[in-house]
Structures are given as structure tokens and as C-alpha cells.
Symmetry: D2
Subunit: 243 residues, 4 copies
Amino acid sequence: MLLNCDLGESYGSWTMGLDEQVMPYINQANVACGFHGGDPLTIQKTLALAKTSQVSVGAHPAYPDLVGFGRRSMNLAPQELAATLLYQISALDGMASCEKLELSYVKPHGALYNDMMARPDVRATIMQAIASYHRPITLMLQATPNADLHREEADALGIKLLFEAFADRCYDNDGALLSRSKPGAVHSREKMLAQVLQLRDSGTVTTVDGSCIELRPDTLCVHGDNAEGVAAIAEIRALVDGE
Amino acid sequence: MLLNCDLGESYGSWTMGLDEQVMPYINQANVACGFHGGDPLTIQKTLALAKTSQVSVGAHPAYPDLVGFGRRSMNLAPQELAATLLYQISALDGMASCEKLELSYVKPHGALYNDMMARPDVRATIMQAIASYHRPITLMLQATPNADLHREEADALGIKLLFEAFADRCYDNDGALLSRSKPGAVHSREKMLAQVLQLRDSGTVTTVDGSCIELRPDTLCVHGDNAEGVAAIAEIRALVDGE
Amino acid sequence: MLLNCDLGESYGSWTMGLDEQVMPYINQANVACGFHGGDPLTIQKTLALAKTSQVSVGAHPAYPDLVGFGRRSMNLAPQELAATLLYQISALDGMASCEKLELSYVKPHGALYNDMMARPDVRATIMQAIASYHRPITLMLQATPNADLHREEADALGIKLLFEAFADRCYDNDGALLSRSKPGAVHSREKMLAQVLQLRDSGTVTTVDGSCIELRPDTLCVHGDNAEGVAAIAEIRALVDGE
Amino acid sequence: MLLNCDLGESYGSWTMGLDEQVMPYINQANVACGFHGGDPLTIQKTLALAKTSQVSVGAHPAYPDLVGFGRRSMNLAPQELAATLLYQISALDGMASCEKLELSYVKPHGALYNDMMARPDVRATIMQAIASYHRPITLMLQATPNADLHREEADALGIKLLFEAFADRCYDNDGALLSRSKPGAVHSREKMLAQVLQLRDSGTVTTVDGSCIELRPDTLCVHGDNAEGVAAIAEIRALVDGE
């Protein structure tokens, strides 16, 4: 099981995330593409850092909403969304090649990610955009009990999928993350580490009401916003490596 | 001698340029990359139109200045400018590949173009950025009496150049365009056609004070902003083709 | 009955709307505030033009979505939306004062307008923002059979309302505009003029299925995007003036 | 002698500056207006904080360059610059009024500030824009040996000036700040405190080569970017208060 993290989300003079501290622990860097964060120079530096750390890179495209950090759902027409994705993926892909890295996947950001999981029409547009890219590229989405459906959708378009689970978030019985506004939505350190162990050993999580659902993720999403987050990543890394 | 034109400069709901009418007459489309014009959907449509018309495509990157249409000089640090260029070139390159087109050159836009011609440091940054791209790509710049110097600069970095001249603009003796604020800066139709003929037949232009300077351009820049411009392009096309 | 029109929607080098031709026919100019169109210089010129034409001015604020022209719904938190509105209203208000004009009303733009009519929570946020403005300012919204409810909502906050109807659009029985995707959504010239007459004489419209609903608008929204639109405005002006 | 500080420079999800910690020590808050930092909600919160702390507020307008944080000179036409300033001042003024604060001055930001001090044409445009505002508003600029000239320029337009000095920066003999790229440009804590004392007691600074020049500032610019900066502000406050 791999670890992935959103990185390169600084913008101009504003910094965000402890990217340098996070890199040594992760396998996959989801690099912001300029639409919710990540100006060109930040992208370049983030890619160079990933290269040094031998971390795989993915494009982390978003709705065009800098002031909202891509966290607000926007009602784009399918052709607008598809072009917006191809632009961001292309920008990252070319800049990665300049750093002698190969962009290997796409993980939508924020509200776009949520819309992808909740709305079949948005997911279809995203999958079609990725299928229309000029070379094969993998889509990362959330591991849920609907994974088989998502695999069928992807197979029909000839694209590959990566499924991710969340270490620090409580799941409901549908395999969705409990809303952050609800009590218990974000795990304590102990529950987080327990969830990582369970995911590692059985591919399952225990949901908010105590049920057990199967997720079988390929990768775990971790967060390096602050020192506490980095410490958690180090612990998760050790667990995942079976130490 | 080829004809090139700035295209794809619409943005969202705002349209600019008679792209569809211009395409049949030109050889090279300089496609805006989103920083002065050209949202992702406009880029996609412009590339598709170029494909249909069998027109070569180049990236037309700019300073990040949407409200100023890239026409105002900005004092970017070299590393900021280089990353800003690689981002825009990469975005266009990937989107062109999706349309089964190969991006073949880069022509800086507006104030960035002027700064490239006037300031050796900006030109060096642009050339280095293009040299650092992950595959060979040609730089289009203005044909002037300094072309040999520019060729040396490019050779040192291993990049190729395309030189362009302007059909409708009066030149000074240094091979620079006469400022638009000066009388006679923009040619009448007759003078424009005469300049095209002279460029075609001898590679020279007659400057504002009657001198003759050699430019030997590879391509002529034309403008399709309005019906009059499109009519001029049609006439220039006929002249260049030797009709 | 007054005529209002969206104006000042150009942006930098991109022009939109025949503002100078429209001004003589209208009473109220809804001036874009920079978030969907309308850069500072365009705002200043539009206000100066309104001053010359003795046209009232209103702020026409939008979601922060330049590339989407404010036409795509965005899910802003109430406090984000309120601050976004106050910023835009303030910018217009101060710039109007510099032109010795008094900003007299606010009409939300595009998707924000639609959300205001469809979602009570968005309407409440808009009304509360306007109520929190440092001086009284009127809100313009759509005249529908729910006008009494809207008046109650406004009264509770101490703000005044202006109701507008549309000359060229077909209504459904709820007083909503028929979606543009449906046949007959936009009236022919004859139907438009008949609708204006009916609104003028009885304050009613005939809906898509032939019912008659009462709207009693204070003002009619007209569109000056092109020469045809300007001609229609001139005809509507004559009808409204009882000629 | 007052203390002023740039505040409200966060943007959306990106935070910058320890505004809450700085407010108790300063007299004047220079509030970002959205063009280099400061989204509408950040502006609103910053103004509310200033209100609570009984701190005067000024508009801190910038070139339209979010990614460059307004630190890169841009070549705006005078009418573009004037409208850009009036827009930002108006936005802050109205939002301040909503918080029952009166906007009392304007201090240009970053490259615009530098251009104002270095280029008479830019300074003239800024002064004329402020003079064209619909009510009197003071311009804050740098205290230099040219203050008399600046006062004459302002008098001719009927605007008032506030002069600021810098506590932590080394001056050259022209009263300009030594470029940050030069050794000794930024003072150590001891030199900074000595410079504050000298400014307080004699209105002078000792320049890079040991000369003494008279500045007689009305206010001192301080920086609250980090904990060290806040500690310095507390020390400067104590010195200025004569403790």
C-alpha cells in the first residue's frame, strides 16, 4: 500500500504545506496545477523535489477557483470541464518531463473530487477527458463499495484506476467520508493508526456505526499541512512498511 | 515565406478575432495559452480548427496579465519567467497532442515579445527556458539587422529560430517597428502590399527615412481582428503565393 | 415602467455590448463590478457614460468567475458570499461617487441571480449583506407570484425591493423563465412587443401554456448585446412611453 | 510618531502575517485590497479586528498581480492605474464604513510604492487619482529629503500627505532604502532599535556611509510576518512611547 499526499499548493508569496518534510515518507505526490494553488514556479520546484525524493507525481487539477482553493462546487459544462482538465494535466505533464519525471496519474482536487464521487455525470466527464489524453494516464479516485462500478466505467473507456483510502477520516456505511461537520469525522491519532493497520491487514475499515466495509485501496491519502500531520505521516509510513 | 497570425485570444464569453475566417489563409497559428487570453476551451477549439485547416501551431505565451492582455511589461524574476513559459508551452503542447497536432514553435506575446527584442536578459531567459524544454522547439522572434547575434545566442543553447517580419508596420533604421504613437507607424493598404512584395522579392524593407535594410524573414505576421484585416490577409496570401 | 440593462461587461481588451447605443433608451444601468466582467477602467467609463445619459446606476455583482462570466453556480459559504457582495457594491459605490452619481440599487448577475430566485438561503444571504451595507440600497430581483413573500423577507431586514420582468422571455406558470434549452423560451419580436404591451397595461404575462399571471414589475430587463438587441430596446422604449 | 503595518494580506486558504498579534501594538493598519492579497472575507475580518483594536485603517492598493504579490513593476497606462486605484480605495472605503470605521489614508503597496517614489509620472497619477476621490483622503509615502517637493506636488492637488520611515532598513544618502541585495540592507535588532531612537529624538537616520539625513516621519513602518517581527514591533512600540 502506497502513501499519497497533496503537495505544491503554495501560490506566489503564500506558502502552504510542509512539502520538503513530507516527501521522504510518501510514494505519490499530487501536484497542484495552478487552478486552486500552485503557480508555475511552485510546480517546478515541487516536481524537482519529487524527483530528488524518487516520488511518483500525479496532476491534481481543480475547478478554476483560486480564492476558494477549489473547495467550492462549480457547475461547469462538460466540455468546459474536460478542456479545463486537459489544460491542467498537459501543463503538469510537460513540466514533469522537463524535470525528467513521468506524470503517472491524475487525482482531482477538492470539490471536483467530491463531485466526481457523488455525480456520475461529472465522473463520466472526467473519465472521458482522461481517455482523450494523448497517452494513457491513470485516474485516482476514492475506494468505496462502488469500486466495481467505477472499474466498469473506466474499462469501457480504456483507462486505469487507482483507489485511495483515508487514514484519518471516519467512514459511513456507503464508504463515503463522514462530513467534517459531524462529531467523530476526523480520527484521533490512535483511531487513525488502527484504521491504517486494518486497511493494511484486511483492506477494510470499521464505519461510524461499527460495520465493516471492504475498500482494498491501492494507496492511502495523508496530509502534511503542519508538524502534527508530518509526524502522523511518519507513523503511518512505519505501519504500512510493517515495522 | 509563410504567414503567421495570433489566434485563440477569446476568453470565456468574450470573443476576439475572426479565427475561422483567418485560418484558410495562414500557415502558422500562434495560439494564446491562457495568461493573456485563451481559456482551455478556446485553446481546444482553436487547435481543432488549426488541425482542420492544416495550419501549424505555436504556443503564444504571455506575462500573467489578463486584464492588460499581456501588453504591459512586467518585471518577472528570471526563474519566474522561465517557469511561466514552461507552464504555458506545456499546456499547449499537451492539448495539441490531444488534437493529434505537434506544437512546433513558441512566439512570445505582446510586452513579453517587445521585452525579448529590447532586453538581452529577457531574451536569454526565454531562450534558456525553451532550451530546457523536454524536446526541441523553435523560437519565433522578430527579423532585424541583429539576426546574426540572435542566431549565435540560439546556437549556444542549441535551439532553432524562426524570424518574422510585419507587413503593415513601418520600420526604423534599427529594424525596430516605429512606435504606434508616431505618424506613419501603420501602413496604408498600398504601402503594406508594397512592403510584402519587397520582402518577398528581396527580403528587405524600406525604413521610415527611406533606407533599405535586410530582414530575410521566414514568416510574415498578419492580423485578423476585423473584416478589413481578413481582407488584407487574403491579399497578402495572394502576393506571397506569387499570384 | 422603467428599462434596465446589463452594461459595463467588457474586460480589458475584450469588448461586449453596445453600451453607448443602449444608454439613451434605458433608465437603469446594471454595472458589472469586476468579478464576471468590468475592469476598473471599464467601470469608470460606464459610469461616466451613465452620468452623461442621466441613467441611474446599480451594482451588478457576481460570483468570482471571470472565465465563466458568472454564469456557473458556485457554492460559496454565506460569509464568503456576503463579503464578496459588499466588496463589489463598495467598489461601484465609491467609483460612482467619484463620477458624482449615486449608486441606487443592486442586481445580482447570472448564476447568482438564478440562485437568489431559486434558493431561500442564498436570497437571505444577499438580503442580509445589503441590509448590512452602511447606507440604504435597493435590491432588484425578479417579479414573480412570490413577490409578497420576497417583500416580507425584505421588510424584516429593512431593505427595499425593485421587481423586474423580462420582455423577451417566455414564463412558466410559477413565474420562472422557461429554460433557454426549451422551444419557445425566447420570444420572437412580435411576441416580445406583445408581452411588453401586456405588462405595461395590465402588469401580467401570458405563460407557456396560456395562463395569465400577475407580475406588476417596476422595471423591464432589456439586452443590448448586438444591433438587433438595440433595435428591440428602441421599440420597447417607444411602447413603454406609450407612443 | 505612529506605527503602521501591512495587514490583511492573507488570500482565501493562504494565510500571511500575524495580524491578531500585531494589532495591539500599531496605530495604522494598511489593509490589502484584493489585487495583491486580501480577498473580500479577509478584508472584512481585518477591518473588524482593526475596529476592535481601535487602529486607524488605510487602503493598501497594488498592481493587479496576485501571483507576484504586487512586487513586480507593471507598466500601466495612467488612466488604467488611476481607475485601478479608485476601485481598490472604494472597495476598502465602503467595507470600512460597514464596520463603522472611516478609511483615513492610502498607502500604495510593493512595486507600486517603489514606482511612486522613483517615478514622478507614477506619483502624479497616484496623487491625481486620490485628488479625484469623492472625499479627502491622505496619501502615505516615504519620508525622504525630497519631502518638500512631494508636499508641493500634493498641495497643488489639494491632498494631504503622511510620511513614513522604516525602522529596520538601512538608508542611502538620497534617503532611499538600500537594496535588499546589498550587505547591511536590513538592520540587526540593535541597529533597528537605535534607528528608532534616533528617528524619535531627532527625526534623522544615519545612512550607509555614516552621514545623517533628516526624515521627520509621521509614522514608522513595521513588519509582522513572524514571531520575531512581532517581538520587534513590541520593542519599537515601547521605544516610541518613550518607555
